[in-house]
């Protein structure tokens, strides 16, 4: 029996329990011979990964506690099963097939199955394996390294003669000069490390380090990122933690791409007469920074403020608190690399192709200035530059202020901006008002509260009245029962495919409606047999 707990992309923590009652917290390495005693009984049962369907169908072994799976097989586990993906170690150096086969199989099997991959895990690659959705590993690969005199760490594999017993590790194995013990320790501790990063919401950051252990791991990460349509639905809509964009791959994170896509595809700006492009700040939200206070007092709401930043491209002022716009950190050198330039130029150009502003003021310098100009030219947008020298110099600010002198005053509409971004629905917000202190706002219609704002993530939390305004999308359909607490996955009949873990959802049933937050993505919500689907906030009987 397997139950997934914390999920992130394909990765997850979970609990796998055998019928005997024995159970492990996953991800975890097991001693396969004792944990799955039946496994070694099937002689002559090898089936290579690239074997064709006929060969596979003819020769597939039937294990007692495991389901044999294969890219070409129709053999499928059901909820709670443990699946064994044999011989996966033979594609570890073959990123193209690694990703292709894996995504095919992940698509073919229910997500709440435990995945065991034998003889693959090393301290240097197990982060990638866990990120690929594997849950159970064994010690075969590290034991083999021990037999070969190889010292394993999370940084790679090294000749034991030169690296073992040289002070690089102080585990019990190293104290005892027992390489076998060290290598198993190294695998176990690395799995725990990955597990903790996963629970902490920083698996991606860890991966962006660990993947450097080999070219193929880098390629695997990049290929996963290119499989955006497959991965993105599995990534929560927000994290409570910061997003550290510390490598080139950060630009390709599903969260980053999703943000850019939604700003272009969903977001409805407060105004499209005049925009002003300004730089980001290290402090988040931007408007709490000294530089933005200066910009804002020069702009005086006479233009739509759009922040140009890496890796997010463009952040309209309305969305500055939305995850990850209010939550990212990025190394700054002043130099924007070619990929950042290309990615951000494209984002800006697409935004201005969709939203035809009459005039855009560019208050940027250095590389971001060049990027913005190129993008505005590409999108045939009329623009004017307002900066001289340092952007926050009084001269620059004066120039900015006087350029906007005749602009109409109209502040950013946080409500419309957030709702359109979050729900993909252009709600009528004319009767709504934002009340309350900065970072503690509520949205009222008359005296009725329609939304609160989750200041941790920037998401709006609709009340029942709020849901009346969002006419479609983000619905979870349940059977005819009155929820007595959270809604479990088996209780979900159907749901909107746009729903991601962490999204605000509206639960609709014959007997009741409820507000709440999705605890899993749409696909899992519709197919899982276990686990909370929606954390319910309020229920209303019909």
């Amino acid at each position: 029996m397997f139950e997934a707990l914390k999920r992130d992309g394909l990765a997850r923590t979970g609990i796998y329990s055998k019928d005997s009652g024995e159970s492990i917290e996953t991800p975890s390495a097991i001693d396969a011979d004792s944990f799955f005693p039946d496994l070694k009984e099937h002689e002559f049962s090898n089936i290579p990964l690239f074997a064709n369907k006929k060969f596979v169908d003819k020769n597939s072994p039937e294990y007692k506690e495991l389901i044999f799976i294969h890219p070409e097989s129709e053999n499928k586990g059901v909820f709670g099963d443990c699946l064994i993906l044999s011989n996966w170690h033979t594609v570890l150096e073959n990123p193209k097939y690694y990703v292709k086969m894996l995504l095919k199989m992940k698509g073919n099997h229910p997500s709440d199955t435990a995945w065991y991959t034998p003889a693959c895990a090393l301290p240097s690659n197990v982060a990638t394996l866990i990120n690929s959705g594997f849950d159970i590993f064994d010690y075969r690969a590290v034991d083999l390294k021990s037999a070969k005199g190889i010292f394993c760490t999370s940084d790679g594999e090294f000749l034991a003669e030169e690296w073992f017993d040289k002070g690089l590790c102080r585990c019990s194995g190293c104290e005892n000069k027992n390489l076998f013990e060290h290598n198993r320790n190294a695998l176990d501790t690395e799995i725990e490390t990955v597990k903790n990063f996963l629970k902490d919401g920083h698996l991606r950051e860890l991966l962006e380090r660990r993947c450097r252990n080999s070219a193929s791991q880098v390629s695997i990460l990049r290929l996963f990122d290119m499989s955006y349509d497959f991965i993105e639905p599995r990534v929560a809509i927000a994290r409570s933690t910061r997003l550290y964009a510390n490598s080139g791959e950060s630009l390709k994170r599903p969260e980053v791409k999703r943000f850019v896509e939604r700003v272009i595809e969903r977001f409805v700006p407060s105004r499209t007469d005049t925009a002003v492009l300004i730089p980001c700040s290290a402090k988040k939200p931007y408007s709490s920074s000294q530089s933005h206070m200066k910009f804002q007092s020069a702009i005086q709401n006479r233009a739509h403020e759009i922040i140009i930043t890496s890796p997010l491209g463009i952040v309209p002022r309305e969305l500055e608190r939305m995850y990850p716009a209010g939550h990212y950190d990025v190394p700054v050198t002043g130099y924007w690399d070619g990929e950042e330039r290309a990615f951000i130029t494209d984002a800006i150009a697409r935004y201005f192709e969709k939203n035809r502003y009459e005039k855009v003021f560019v208050h940027l310098d250095g590389d971001s200035f060049e990027i913005a100009k190129a993008a505005l030219e590409r999108s045939n947008t009329d623009y004017e530059c307002t900066a001289t020298d340092k952007l926050t110099s009084s001269e620059s600010l004066k120039k900015l202020e006087s350029a906007l002198k005749y602009g109409r005053k109209k502040g950013p509409n946080l409500i419309k901006g957030t709702l359109s971004y979050q729900f993909g629905f252009d709600a009528d917000t004319s009767k709504l008002q934002l009340k309350g202190k900065f970072m503690r706002e509520k949205v009222l219609m008359g005296k009725k509260q329609v939304f609160s704002i989750d200041t941790g993530t920037g998401l709006m939390r609709p009340t029942f009245e709020g849901w009346d305004l969002i006419e479609s999308g983000y619905r979870v359909y349940i059977d005819n029962f009155i929820p007595q607490g959270d809604i479990l996955a088996p209780g979900v009949l159907n749901c909107d495919p746009d729903i991601r873990e962490g999204d605000e959802v509206f639960v609709v049933g014959e007997g009741a409606v409820a507000t709440g937050r999705a605890a899993m993505g749409a696909a899992e919500m519709c197919s899982s047999k276990r686990g909370v689907a929606v954390r319910v906030r309020k229920v209303k009987k019909l």
Binding site: P48, F50, N87, T90, V91, P118, A119, R140, A147
Partner: protein, 328 residues
């Protein structure tokens, strides 16, 4: 083009062989023929080594030209034994027309002839006829029929080699050959694909025991990765590793009967190999053993070991059908 292409065998070379305690000069000839009628074995590299389809008469002529070439290139009195291979079965009449077979018999009359065939072509009448041609009473057993049994395990033979016959078929063929008065040479294959190192090793040891009663000579082939074979495809997909030389050593040392073994490609990535450091000395020892039938040297190398022997022992224990091959 006006020049006539010279017809030559696919390969032809001389070597030493042990026979009844004596070391003989032996000529090995691989004739180009009409090609194997089965042509499906996973490790076979001769699938494409055949004449295009042609009338039997022309085929016969071409093979006879190959015989002439052999006779002119290798002095008949420089060897006492001949091993005849085709890219299929020497006794398959479609592959080697009777006329051609007869001239080959004539050419090697008086030698000890070993001719290879699939089991289904080993028929008493054909063998008797050929024996009659070869035999000039110089030798007690002038003809041996060689068959690739590969393994006595029908399941392995079918799944891993796709050989198309059974151990029973082999036994029948043996009885046909014996009735015709020929001796029997059996080829076994060490580590076809889809087997772990230990499955391969145990299968070889079992096969040796089980085929011994039916065999006058046994030769163990160590699987190599030939161009354009199924095995090569698997190897490139990292799904196949040739056997360790340690496994070969172990089999040879522990065998109750004498087993001949020529570790072709030994020490190369595509052939049976260990770590690269200890390979060549073991290959040489195995070659020497085939001649001198003395296990002492084998034992010396086996016991001396190498860093990689640890790895091999681990592989024997831990390589399983669901995680193989563990090494390259």
């Amino acid at each position: 083009m006006i020049s006539q292409k010279i017809e030559k065998p696919l390969a032809c070379w001389k070597s030493k062989e042990t026979y009844s305690g004596e070391v003989l000069d032996c000529l090995t000839v691989i004739f180009k023929s009409g090609g194997c009628s089965w042509n499906r074995c996973t490790m076979c590299g001769y699938k494409n080594e055949r004449y295009h389809k042609m009338p039997a008469e022309e085929l016969s002529t071409r093979i006879k030209q190959q015989v002439s070439w052999v006779l002119s290139e290798f002095k008949p009195d420089s060897y006492q034994m001949v091993k005849i291979f085709t890219s299929g079965s020497f006794f398959d009449t479609d592959e080697v027309p009777p006329g051609a077979r007869d001239s080959i018999g004539e050419a090697f009359k008086g030698k000890i002839v070993i001719a290879e065939s699939r089991t289904e072509y080993v028929k008493e009448d054909i063998i008797s006829d050929f024996l009659a041609i070869v035999d000039d009473n110089s030798h007690k057993n002038p003809l041996y029929v060689a068959m690739g049994l590969e393994t006595t395990n029908d399941y392995i033979r079918e799944k891993c080699i796709d050989k198309g016959h059974t151990f029973e078929d082999f036994k029948n063929a043996v009885s046909q050959g014996r009735k015709a008065g020929a001796g029997i040479k059996t080829y076994l294959m060490m580590k076809p694909p889809f087997l772990t190192e230990s499955e391969a090793l145990l299968d070889m040891q079992k096969s040796l025991k089980e085929c011994a009663p039916y065999s006058d000579m046994i030769s163990m082939n160590l699987c190599t990765v030939q161009n354009r074979t199924d095995v090569e495809r698997l190897w490139k997909q990292r799904a196949y590793r040739p056997p360790y030389l340690w496994s070969a050593l172990k089999v040879l040392i522990e065998a109750d009967v004498h087993v001949m073994c020529d570790p072709v490609g030994g020490g190369k990535r595509r052939g049976p190999h260990n770590c690269g450091k200890c390979d060549m000395e073991i290959v040489d020892a195995i070659r020497e053993f085939s001649l001198n039938v003395d296990k002492e040297l084998l034992r010396v190398y086996f016991e001396r070991g190498c860093k990689c022997k640890n790895e091999w022992e681990f592989i024997l224990k831990e390589e399983k059908p669901f995680c193989m091959p563990l090494t390259e």
